[in-house]
Amino acid sequence: MEKDTNESAAWTKRENESPIPKHERRASEKDIRESIAWAKINQDVLKSMETPRKLYWVILFFAFAAFSVGVGCEVYQYQNGMGVSNKNNPHAWGLYISTFIFWIGMSHSGTLLSAILHLMHADWRKPIFRFAEALTTFSLMTAGLFVMVHLGRLWQFYYSVPYPDERGLWPNFQSPLLWDAMAIFTYLSSSILFLYIGMIPDLAICRDHLHEGWRKNLYTWLSLGWEGTDRQWRNFRVTYLTIACFLIPLAVSVHSIVAADFAMSQQPGWHVTSFPAYFVAGALYSGCSAIITLFIILRYVFKFEEYMTLPILKKTVRLTFAIAMIWTYLNAVEFASVWYSHDQASKDVLIQKVIGPFAPFWWGMIFCGSVVPLTLAFKRFQTNIPVLFVVSLLLNLGMWLERWMIVAPTFSHGYYPWTWDHDQWPGFVQWGMVFASFGWFTMLFMGFCKVFPSVSMYEVKEMVYHRKLHLKKSETAEQGAH
């Protein structure tokens, strides 16, 4: 241990000595420095969990205040009826459902990073997957709230839960909404499990660094007696891999099923075969851009420059760009299939989006979702943190607009022209609820960062170890060549 620390100190020293030393140039292209000391990893990560600064509380307070707005809106809506949210016939859904899809979509990033890339042995995911997984869990929790808020009779929500009841009734298993509820619940519980199990070795580290207090008890309890024995590691890896495998189809199914809410219906603009793929692509897209946003924030706030390095960011950005292009393509496919379908009603919906009352939002979506990501194609922007921060926010705005553009135009221009309605603008209750969802998410996420390690210590160590091995091997090979 001590040796490691010395080595690390030596690194620092050398960096200070030369303006652009050879290693450093190489290091800037590396995902992580091989020589980083394990103790430093522990120290840095645990430091992020220390008693928060004042600013933390201020932000948390604002997040809570934002959430309270939503609570207020919900109480108001609960007491007076859905009408206060300014929905109507035909605009039955509004922002609740579009924001619901938005948050569900956001949740896909964590699975992508932690499960898919895990299986693909892309080890650069290791320093960032933990918070991405937390992002998944919390955005699912946020999305779940919207399902509840959306119901006209929240107090009877259990009618759509399948359980053997006294009435002898079951919910309608044909309804995509029911699949939705089930898929989300399964995904949420699996995500929590995945997040938790992946955290056990880290929780043990946390436990070992503490001597008393509620945290000690919490970590002791949660780490399930982790000792780091070989057998534990072996079992851990099997379990982790199993859940990862399980999670991938779930993630895909969740958003496919959300897509099915629309695609299984009969409405123009919704009844589209490509919707599941389109939704999943959109989900990964918004998830990735959310990861970029949080990446930048965490890197800055917790000074995680050593772990959340620019090369990793660059990889994430490139992944985002690729997904953006897939999404753009799927968008084009959707429009083309509508346009050549001879389905006048669907065409009308599309026309309304492009040149009708929804045009500003629709073009905003195209701009944010398809044009803005083009900046990510340029190398110099790929590591430019201020630009990326703005771009990632814009991308998410675009994705939010996309969801709204899926929901609203079909309602306002359905099959039946008599009920067409252009002038529907969500009421303050709806906006309040959307606003609150960000507060709620921020609250959860900030709480997580302070209670749990937002960077996976053991995986980073693993990564460093692997890299070091690799470096040694290549050095040996180099020497051998000489």
């Binding site: 006048q344 306002s412 099959y415 039946y416 022209p417 008599w418 067409w420 252009h422």
Partner: protein, 732 residues
């Protein structure tokens, strides 16, 4: 329906499911409960009263004067719904939306419940005895001709009793006022056919050419005409009837026409003469009279293309019999009588008289025949009030403060009357001006008889009877009030009648034989009468007199454009709101206007071309200014109106009446000019010229129509075929 001999009065006494304990279904408990709700039983119950089972009683709809018989469903002592009585030849089991809303008149929360003595804006609740005493006191200080009685159309025993009462006072001042009565047409009909209202057989006509007669909407007896219309569409001899509607503002009937012809306002008569000319079948003085009306001139003056006139003439020639109707659009001008006469002439030229225009049957009891309302009555009353002639004024079933043209200044003149008594259901605009307001029973809790003005098969007397107990203890029936008042003066004569019910029963039994009850004993006859709700009478079939003549027919050339007031104001009469007396029935307020689909508000119909000229778009608040005043309302771009005219619907714009009426919309009565028909002296409703200006304010028009307007966007929703594409004979 009751077949038992139980007396209706007894029934009413036992009825009542414990008064106020009425359980609303659905908004109460949501789980199985024990011992929380009270269930109130009957004290005594008639055999036929079973909780949960509806009992049906026949009565007469009082929402308008058409005299439709209704059948009320009563459950647990509450009347729930009105249906048409299938036995009535007028409505044959059907009703209109207005009739449906009759229950909302009855249950209206804004009904007057106590006799009120008004001091300025304050109400003092008084007893009936005090109210009667007050009337007696005021009457004692007035001579007979200083007493005036203003009423809407009345008929039946109420009319008799009212006549007797006025007689007892020594007053001849009974003013029968209806704001929207077809009075000019009545006069023209009298001239042309010898009867005021002949029987129109729309169902027998192959072509109906209607000059603004909204017989499907609000004209004379719409439910009856609607049924005839349905038969007419099915066709005589398999030939589907053709409806051509000539009017400047599209009415509901116009919207159902095969051809709707927007004619320049006021030139209906010219077009009629033009058609006679084009027919070329007239001879004698008629031919001479129409000689000048060649198609070029008629087309120029009416704005109807010459080809159209020929087409109409050709169709009328080809398909006979036809029917030509003169409606409110034709009669509403200073030359309204001439218009109506020209139109009636067309009917005569076409030989429809005797075929589709038949004499109606008259009621064998002339004293019960309806006193038909008109606007001449209002004018003479107004003149009298202005001169301060009346010390006591009674007002019943009319709301002249709301419906009198603004130019008449009726409200100001009314203040000159010494003591004003209003018999009212609501505190309407007129009741607010009264000194004494006497609360009336609703039509569903009152007794009465009614003789409809427009009768279909033979003559009939409609029975109005209570469908349930009174809602409010202190309201009284108009008959009961009149009886009490007449007893003040002729106590001896009326002492045998405890109440109006007894009077009615006595009067009916007196004429039992004439009423078709010969041989039956009194109770049987009476119960049967009540059960049926209608007394059908043989009546005497009238004959049409009068022959076709064009004598005295002069139609003015349409005047040149008025620069200051360039537009003609057409007050729109809608089927549900009419003259506004029922505006406090929320179903009617929320029932979209069929043509514009607007609810809860007034609007100004402007032709899109005219609107573009004036830079007006939908939802602009515009100010409509006439020589007599101005109102503000939202603009609605409506293709079914002549570009030289605008239309504002009547019935809204109340300043009183109740929570569902007050403050909604504008009242175009206020800006009507006091122009009168030259012959009859009736108010010329369509003769007000206005200008329209934008105020700069905008609102969202509250209507049912969506953003697509009336377009189907290429979808097959309401589909249309022409007669050459369809074979109606294949239909079952």
């Amino acid at each position: 329906m009751i077949d038992s001999g139980l007396d209706r009065r007894d029934f009413l006494k036992v009825l009542g499911w414990g008064g106020a304990a009425v359980a609303l279904s659905g908004c109460g408990n949501t789980s199985v409960e024990d011992g929380k709700e009270t269930v109130v039983s009957y004290v005594e119950a008639a055999d036929y009263v079973i909780p949960g089972i509806g009992v049906y009683y026949n009565s007469t709809c009082a929402q308008c004067d058409a005299g439709c018989s209704i059948n009320g469903r009563v459950r647990e002592g509450r009347v729930l719904k009105l249906e048409g009585n299938p036995a009535s030849a007028i409505n044959r089991g059907r009703t209109c939306g207005l009739g449906q809303a009759g229950v909302q008149h009855h249950y209206n929360p804004d009904r007057v419940r106590e006799p009120l003595l008004r001091h300025g804006d304050k109400n003092e609740v008084i007893t009936w005895d005090k109210a009667y005493a007050l009337i007696a006191e005021k009457l004692s200080g007035a001579k007979g001709d200083e007493v005036a009685f203003l009423s809407g159309g009345v008929s039946g025993h109420l009319k008799v009793l009212l006549g007797n009462y006025l007689d007892s006072i020594g007053s001849k001042n009974h003013f029968v006022y209806e704001a929207l009565a077809p009075a000019v047409v009545r006069a023209a009909n009298k001239k042309a056919y010898g009867v005021e209202m002949p029987r129109y057989n729309i169902n027998k006509a192959k072509v109906v050419l209607s000059f603004g007669a909204d017989f499907l909407g609000a004209w004379v007896s719409p439910v009856h005409f609607s049924q005839q219309y349905a038969q007419f569409r099915k066709g005589v001899d398999g030939q589907r009837g053709v409806l051509i509607q000539v009017e400047s503002k599209m009415t509901l009937t116009g919207a159902n026409a095969d051809r709707w012809i927007p004619v320049r306002p006021g030139t209906e008569g010219i077009l009629a003469l033009g058609i006679i000319n084009a027919l070329g079948t007239a001879s004698g003085d008629i031919a001479a009279a129409v000689k000048g009306y060649d198609r070029a001139r008629v087309s120029k003056e009416t704005g109807v293309p010459p080809g159209q006139i020929d087409k109409i003439a050709a169709l009328l020639k080809l398909r006979s019999p036809s029917l030509v109707l003169a409606g409110s659009a034709a009669e509403g001008y200073a030359h309204g009588s001439q218009n109506a006469a020209a139109i009636n002439l067309l009917n005569q030229v076409l030989g429809n008289v005797g075929k589709t225009v038949e004499a109606s049957t008259s009621v064998p009891f002339p004293q019960m025949a309806p006193a038909k309302g008109n606007t001449v009555a209002l004018k003479s009353l107004n003149d009298g009030l202005a001169a301060g002639k009346y010390k006591v004024l009674f007002c019943y079933a009319a709301n002249p403060v709301f419906t009198a043209p603004g130019a008449m200044k009726f409200k100001d003149h009314l203040a000159k009357a010494g003591f004003k008594v209003a018999f009212a259901h609501y505190l309407d605009e007129t009741a607010l001006q009264a000194d004494l307001v006497l609360p009336l029973d609703s039509a569903l809790e009152d007794w009465g008889t009614q003789v409809p003005e427009y009768m279909t098969e033979g003559a009939q007397i409609n029975i109005q009877q209570p469908l349930m107990e009174k809602l409010h203890a202190n309201t009284r029936g108009m008959g009961d009030i009149l009886l009490a008042l007449v007893k003040q003066r002729r106590a001896e004569e009326y002492k045998s009648f405890d109440d109006y019910y007894a009077y009615l029963r006595g009067a009916m039994l007196l004429n039992k034989n004439a009423l078709g009850g010969s041989g039956a004993d009194d109770d049987t006859f009476w119960n049967e009468t009540l059960t049926k709700g209608i007394v059908k009478l043989a009546g005497s079939a009238g004959t049409l007199s009068g022959k076709a003549s064009a004598a005295g027919l002069t139609l003015p050339v349409p005047s040149a454009a008025d620069v200051q007031y360039p537009l003609q104001l057409i007050p729109g009469v809608t089927a549900s709101l009419r003259d506004g007396r029922h505006a406090n029935q929320p179903w009617l307020q929320e029932s979209p206007d069929p043509l514009t689909t607007i609810v809860w508000d007034s609007w100004v119909e402007i032709h899109p071309k005219k609107a573009a000229e004036l830079h007006i778009t939908e939802g602009d608040i515009v100010e409509v200014t006439s020589r007599s005043g101005s109102i503000r309302a939202q603009a609605y771009l409506f293709p079914g109106i002549h570009p030289d005219a605008i239309s504002v619907p009547l019935g809204r714009g109340h300043e009183a009446l109740g929570r569902y009426a007050k403050g909604y919309g504008a009242n175009p009565f206020q800006i009507l000019d006091a122009v009168f028909d030259q012959e009859t002296g009736e108010l010329a409703m369509h003769e007000t010229r206005v200008k329209v200006s934008k105020t700069g304010q905008r609102v969202v028009v509250v209507k049912d129509e969506g953003a697509a307007g009336g377009k189907q966007m290429g979808r097959k929703i309401a589909v249309l075929v022409t007669t050459d594409e369809v074979d109606l004979s294949k239909e079952a």
